[in-house]
Amino acid sequence: MNTATFKKPSVILASIILILAVLAALVPGLFTSHNPLSGTSGALLSPSLEHWFGTDSVGRDLYSRVIYGTRQSLLGALVAVLVGLVVGTILGLIAGAQGGWLDALLMRIVDVLLSIPSLLLSLSVIILLGYGTVNAAIAVGITSVATFARLARSQVISVSSLDFVEAAYGSGASRFQVLTRHILPNSLTPVIALAAVQFGSAILQLSVLGFLGYGAPAPTPEWGLIIADARDYIATSWWLTVLPGAVIIAVVMSANHLSHIVQKKAR
C-alpha cells in the first residue's frame, strides 16, 4: 500500500474508528468507568457530561453498554468470518484440486447454500444450534461459506495451471505437499481480502440476530439487543436508539471502507 492511500482523510478517520473499536473490545475499562450491567443513577436520563449517551430504562449507563458491547460484536464478527473463511476455503480447495464428481458435488452444495436467502440460512442454523453469541456467529459464518468456496476454487484452479506447480510436481513433491506448500499459499491473497470485506457485513448481520433476540441473552450488552431493548421508549427517549445505531454505522462503514481498499490492492 502506498503512502498516498494513508493520507486520505477518509482512510485516516476509518482507521482511527476501527482502532478505537478494537481497543474498546480489548480493554473496555479504558473508555468508561460505569458498570454496563447495573444501574447507578435514574432511569431514562438524557445525555449529559456524566452519562454521554444517557441512561436506559433501568438506569444503566448507555455509553458503557455500547462500549462493552463492542467485544460481543467484533469477536462475533471475527468468529463468523473465520467460519466462512476456513470452511469455504477447505471446500474450495478440495473441489478445485480434486475436480471430477467431488468438485461437481461440492459446487452443487454451494449452489444450494447460495439459493437460500442469507437471513433464512442463519435462522435455520440457529433453530438447529439454539440461541447464543457463538451460535449466532456460526450462523452468520455459514452464510458466507459459499462465496469463499467459489473464490477459493477458482483461485486454486488458476494457480494449479501455473509453471511453478508443474515444476514442484516435476521435482518429486507429493500431491499433498504441492497443495499445501504451493497452491494454497498462492491462492490465499484474494480470499483474505474477501474475509476483510465480509467483516463489516458480519457485524451488521450479527446485530440483526441480536435485535431479533437470537444472540446473547438479555443482560449482556450487545449492539442489536441494546436497540431492541430501547424500542418501548422511542416516543420519549431518542438517545436510546440513535446513539448506539450511530456507533454501529460508524464501525461498519469504517470496516467496509478499509476492506475495499485492501481488496483493490489485493487484485
Binding site: R108, V112, I116, L123, I248
Partner: protein, 311 residues
C-alpha cells in the same frame, strides 16, 4: 439459446431445487431431535411416552425417514407444506394468509428502491457538485442496520412529526414506513450496479458517435446510456430477492406487521421447524426461478447475447 441448452438450464435449476429441499429436510426435519420431541417431550407438559408417540404418529414422524422424505416431498410438490408443530395449523394456509401483506410490502419497497437507485444514478451523471456525495450514498446505505432505519423512521415521522399515526393507521398509511425501511438495503446494491454500468456504457465508442452528431446530454443519457445500462442490473435480481426476504423478516419484526417475516420469526422463537423449513424451501424455489428467468430473458432483451450464442 438452443433447445438443448434451454432444457439443460431448466434441468440444472430443478436439480438445485431438489438438493435444497433434501438439505433442508436433512437439517431441519431429520436431525437431531425432531421438532415434535423438542416441543412435547418437555417434562412440564407431563405427557406420557405413549401420548408423545401418538402425537408423533399423527404427524407421521414414526415412519422411517425415507418414507417421511418422499411423503413430504410429494406434499411440497402438491402445495401441502405440512403442519405447524406450534399450532397444528396447515402451513400452506398460514402462508396463504401471510403472503398478501408481505407481497404488498416487498413490491412497494422494490419500486421505491428502483426510484432511489435511478435518482442516485441520474444525480451522479448530471451534477458535478453532487457526484461525490451521491456516489458515497450506497456505501452508507449498506452500512445501515435495517431495524435501526425502521425505528428511527417511527421516531421521526410518527412521533416527532406526527405524519403517520402510530395507532389506527389505514392500510396504505401503515405501509409507508415499512416500505421505506425495506427500500434502503435494496436500493444500495441496485444503485451501485447501475452507476458502474452507466460508467461502462459512457466509455463505449457509440456514445462518442451520438455526442458528435450533436445530441443533447439528457438525450444521450436517457435515450442511449440508461437503456443499455439497465440490463446488467438484471443480473443481480437474485441477490435483491435475497435481500428483500431477509429485509422483510426484519421490517415486519420492527413494525409488528403480520406476514411471512413475522411467521418466520415466530417459528424460530417456538422452534417450529416445519414452518421454517417451508419458508426456506419456498424462498429457495423463488430464488432459483428468478435466476432461471433472468438467464432465459437475457438473450431476449439483449440481441448481442443472442448473436454471440449463435456464433
Amino acid at each position: 439459446m438452443t433447445a438443448r441448452q434451454l432444457w439443460l438450464r431448466i434441468g440444472q435449476a430443478l436439480l438445485v431445487l431438489l438438493a435444497t429441499y433434501t438439505l433442508a429436510f436433512i437439517l431441519l426435519s431429520a436431525l437431531p431431535s425432531d421438532a415434535i420431541m423438542a416441543r412435547y417431550a418437555s417434562p412440564d407438559l407431563g405427557l406420557s411416552s405413549d401420548e408423545i408417540n401418538a402425537i408423533r404418529a399423527e404427524y407421521g414422524a414414526d415412519k422411517p425417514l425415507i418414507v417421511q422424505y418422499f411423503t413430504s416431498l410429494f406434499g411440497f410438490l402438491t402445495g401441502n407444506f405440512g403442519y405447524s408443530v406450534q399450532t397444528g395449523a396447515s402451513i400452506a394456509s398460514m402462508v396463504a394468509e401471510a403472503l398478501p401483506g408481505t407481497l404488498a410490502l416487498a413490491i412497494s419497497a422494490f419500486v421505491l428502491a428502483c426510484i432511489w437507485a435511478l435518482l442516485i444514478a441520474v444525480a451522479a451523471s448530471f451534477s458535478r457538485g453532487l457526484r461525490g456525495f451521491v456516489l458515497g450514498l450506497p456505501s452508507l446505505m449498506v452500512s445501515l442496520p435495517s431495524f435501526w432505519i425502521g425505528i428511527i423512521l417511527i421516531q421521526l415521522v410518527s412521533f416527532k412529526l406526527g405524519w403517520v399515526p402510530v395507532i389506527g393507521a389505514s392500510p396504505v398509511q401503515s405501509l409507508i414506513l415499512p416500505a421505506l425501511t425495506l427500500s434502503i438495503p435494496i436500493a444500495a446494491p441496485l444503485a451501485q450496479v447501475l452507476v458502474r454500468s452507466i460508467e461502462d456504457v459512457e466509455r463505449q465508442p457509440f456514445i462518442s458517435v451520438v455526442k458528435a452528431r450533436g445530441a443533447s446530454r439528457s438525450r444521450i443519457f436517457f435515450g442511449n446510456v440508461l437503456r443499455n445500462a439497465i440490463l446488467p442490473a438484471l443480473t443481480i435480481a437474485g441477490v435483491l430477492f435475497g435481500e428483500l426476504v431477509g429485509g422483510a423478516v426484519v421490517t415486519e419484526a420492527v413494525f409488528g406487521r403480520a406476514g411471512i417475516g413475522q411467521m418466520t420469526v415466530n417459528a424460530v422463537a417456538n422452534r417450529d421447524t416445519p414452518v421454517l423449513m417451508a419458508v426456506v424451501v419456498i424462498a429457495a424455489t423463488l430464488y432459483v426461478l428468478i435466476n432461471l428467468l433472468v438467464d432465459l430473458l437475457h438473450p431476449v432483451l439483449d440481441p448481442r447475447v443472442r448473436r454471440k450464442e449463435r456464433a
